[in-house]
């Protein structure tokens, strides 16, 4: 894929993209370490290697726009502006976490910022966010809704059902497929008749676009055009971001990772953060001091989040029965 043009974005905004992508990476590196140290429980899926997709898309959104995520959700949360303290506290199972310790890594949500939740069920979010797209259309304020999902999810019924209804009703939607070429231990090549998920858009009469998902500018530009189209009543767009998860499916030690070593290595060389950093340097918008200052801010925020999580109490056992129903 050709390198994208530099977007029509102020240098500050471009550096902000780098800051967000680095935040996702450092957050997850820490989450992985703390998971293996037994401080975070259950299962953790890292987004490392795919940061350009969430950040590129969310940069094209406003605060009133809404997104939904998957089991691999930290990146979408951070890109939409979620609070690191409450995210980390949720991973730590604390009362101060986004879900009061009820959800964990796979279920972080912040409706206040338009983040309608990570989801433990593959394709489970696609219908929900399409309902948010319907809500945005009925509200009539120009809001859009974005569904993030994997290549694996694109083979599930809700993807097809929702693309059809969104196309028919011209819902203000972006369907963003993060094609990282694998679903758990099974390759997309084994489960897709065609290599491009975007090609399916033709069957629903909507635009289907393939972008380099590791090139944050390319993702931003595709998302921006799709957002304009959605806001102006043009209906949904399917954007397929070709990307790669740099780590195994989950952070559990010792799990099988049947991916081809040469394939993994090739994608490691296309790291989205390294790519953006290089381009910002080439454009003269970043130097060593600038990068250090960004890294320093991120590490400080992360340490604060860890301190917040560690200082927070666990829920009381009897909180288990709270919130089954609303009052």
């Amino acid at each position: 894929m050709p390198t994208s043009l530099s977007p029509n974005l102020a240098p500050d905004k471009q550096r902000e993209m780098l800051r967000q992508m680095l935040t996702i990476r450092r957050f997850e590196e820490r989450a992985s370490a703390d998971y293996n140290a037994g401080k975070i429980y259950g299962v953790v899926h890292c987004y490392i290697g795919e940061e350009a997709t969430a950040v590129g898309v969310c940069t094209a959104l406003g605060r009133g726009d809404r997104i939904i995520s998957t089991h691999r959700g930290h990146g979408h949360c951070i890109a939409k502006g979620a609070d690191l303290n409450r995210m980390m506290a949720e991973l730590y199972g604390r009362q101060t976490g986004y879900c009061k310790g009820k959800g964990g890594s796979m279920h972080i949500a912040d409706f206040g910022i338009g983040m309608l939740g990570a989801n433990g069920i593959v394709a489970g979010g696609i219908s929900i966010i399409t309902g948010a797209g319907l809500a945005a259309q009925m509200e009539g304020k120009g809001g859009v809704a974005v569904s993030f999902f994997g290549d694996g999810a694109s083979n599930a019924g809700p993807f097809h059902e929702c693309l059809n209804i969104a196309a028919t009703w011209k819902l203000p939607m972006l369907y963003v497929c993060e094609n990282n070429l694998h679903a758990a231990q099974t390759s997309a090549a084994q489960t897709h008749a065609l290599p491009d998920v975007a090609g399916r858009a033709a069957g629903y009469g909507i635009p289907g676009i393939v972008v380099d998902g590791n090139d944050v500018f390319a993702v931003y530009q595709a998302a921006n055009a799709a957002v304009d189209r959605a806001r102006s009543g043009g209906g949904p767009t399917l954007i397929e971001c070709k990307t790669y998860r740099q780590r195994a499916h989950t952070e559990r030690k010792g799990q099988a990772d049947p991916r081809d070593k040469a394939e993994v290595d090739a994608w490691m060389r296309k790291d989205p953060i390294a790519l953006l950093e290089r381009r910002l340097r080439e454009q003269g918008e970043l130097d060593d001091a600038g990068l250090q200052s960004i890294e320093g801010d991120i590490m400080a925020a992360l340490e604060a989040a860890i301190a917040f999580a560690e200082a927070s109490p666990f829920p009381l056992p009897e909180h288990a029965t709270d919130d089954v129903f609303s009052a």
Binding site: Y41, G42, G120, G124, A156, G157, F314
Partner: protein, 324 residues
């Protein structure tokens, strides 16, 4: 006898049956490496993540003479296939007047303990027990797993194998030979005289631990493991309660309209068993909530040996006249 884990016992049963019958094939969103190695990608199929389609395809293939196995993995992943399970698999044999058979095995991991929150921890077997036309079982040991799975694969109906997440790595003796365990036959995992505990899966082991402790105080606990949920061995449960006069039901699922409610009803609606009851029946179940993530909360939600012990003590203290 050599020991296998619960999970290994399942794989052994499946491999043995697949060697015996070439009509058996396996579909799952990830292919299990040992099975793939032996049987190849035609019979061990890695599928797209499309449980609704897989569940229905199994019905079609079964109706055309094959014996499919669909591994849903977590039971929560099969909820996207509810139409195919409830409207199609369960009803089709009856609705079409018994024209052909639908020999299907669906596999699903159930229960909690993994701190993976509500969408990956559930014990919803009673939802399926409520649907006529599905057989199902839930083994507590590697031995029972192998024997029941073989029976399930040879059965000519849709059968759901519920498999306890907490027990996957647990070891136990498993005969190397080809044996089956009939459906509808409970196993008395421990004999006793003072109180009957009907327990499922992991809670069989928790009940055994509770019984061991209580034996030191001279309390004699009988533990009945139904093993199959449909058909359910009502007779063994009633006989045990008639002997002991006291009943505790332990289930990792919530109580509402659950397996435990069914057992309580089967015991109390039978005149002879009802007459033998010396105390109210006690259910020791999970709280009726989606399963939370944080360990403090998850621990609070699930029953364990401590709560079973408390339940046993309660029924030992209980009197029929209390209600008056």
């Amino acid at each position: 006898m050599r020991e296998l884990t619960y999970n290994e016992a399942a794989l052994e049963a499946i491999a043995e049956e697949m060697r015996r019958d070439p009509k058996i094939f396996y579909m799952s969103t990830d292919a299990l490496p040992p099975l793939l190695k032996e049987f190849g990608p035609q019979r061990i199929r890695a599928t797209p993540i499309t449980e609704a389609a897989l569940t229905g395809m199994a019905i079609g293939a079964a109706g055309c003479g094959f014996r499919p196995i669909v591994d849903w993995r977590q039971v929560t992943f099969c909820f996207v296939a509810m139409d195919q399970i409830v409207n199609q698999a369960a009803k089709i044999h009856y609705m079409f007047g018994g024209q052909v058979n639908f020999p299907i095995l669906y596999r699903a991991a159930v229960g909690g303990g993994g701190l993976v929150a509500a969408q990956h921890s559930q014990s919803p077997y009673s939802m399926f027990m409520n649907v006529a036309g599905l057989k199902m079982f839930l083994p507590s040991t590697p031995h029972d797993m192998k024997g029941l799975l073989k029976t399930a694969i040879r059965d000519n109906n849709p059968v759901i194998s519920f498999e306890s997440s907490r027990l996957m790595a647990r070891k136990g003796p498993v005969p190397e030979d080809d044996y089956t365990i009939p459906f509808g036959v409970a196993d008395i995992k421990r004999e006793g005289d003072d109180v009957t505990v009907v327990a499922l899966a992991w809670l069989v082991h928790e009940a055994l631990a509770a019984a061991e402790e209580l034996a030191k105080e001279g309390v004699s606990v009988e533990i009945v493991d139904p093993r199959t949920l449909v058909p359910l061995d009502t007779e063994t449960i009633r006989n045990s309660v008639q002997k002991t006069g006291r009943l505790v039901i332990a289930d990792e699922a919530g109580p509402t309209a659950g397996f435990s409610a069914e057992v309580a009803a089967l015991v109390t609606e039978d005149a002879a068993t009802f007459a033998a009851l010396k105390a109210p029946v006690k259910r020791v179940c999970a709280l009726q909530v989606p399963i939370p993530y944080s360990p403090v909360l998850e621990n609070h939600v699930f029953p364990d040996r401590g709560r079973i012990t408390a339940g046993i003590r309660e029924v030992l203290r209980g009197r029929r006249s209390e209600a008056a």
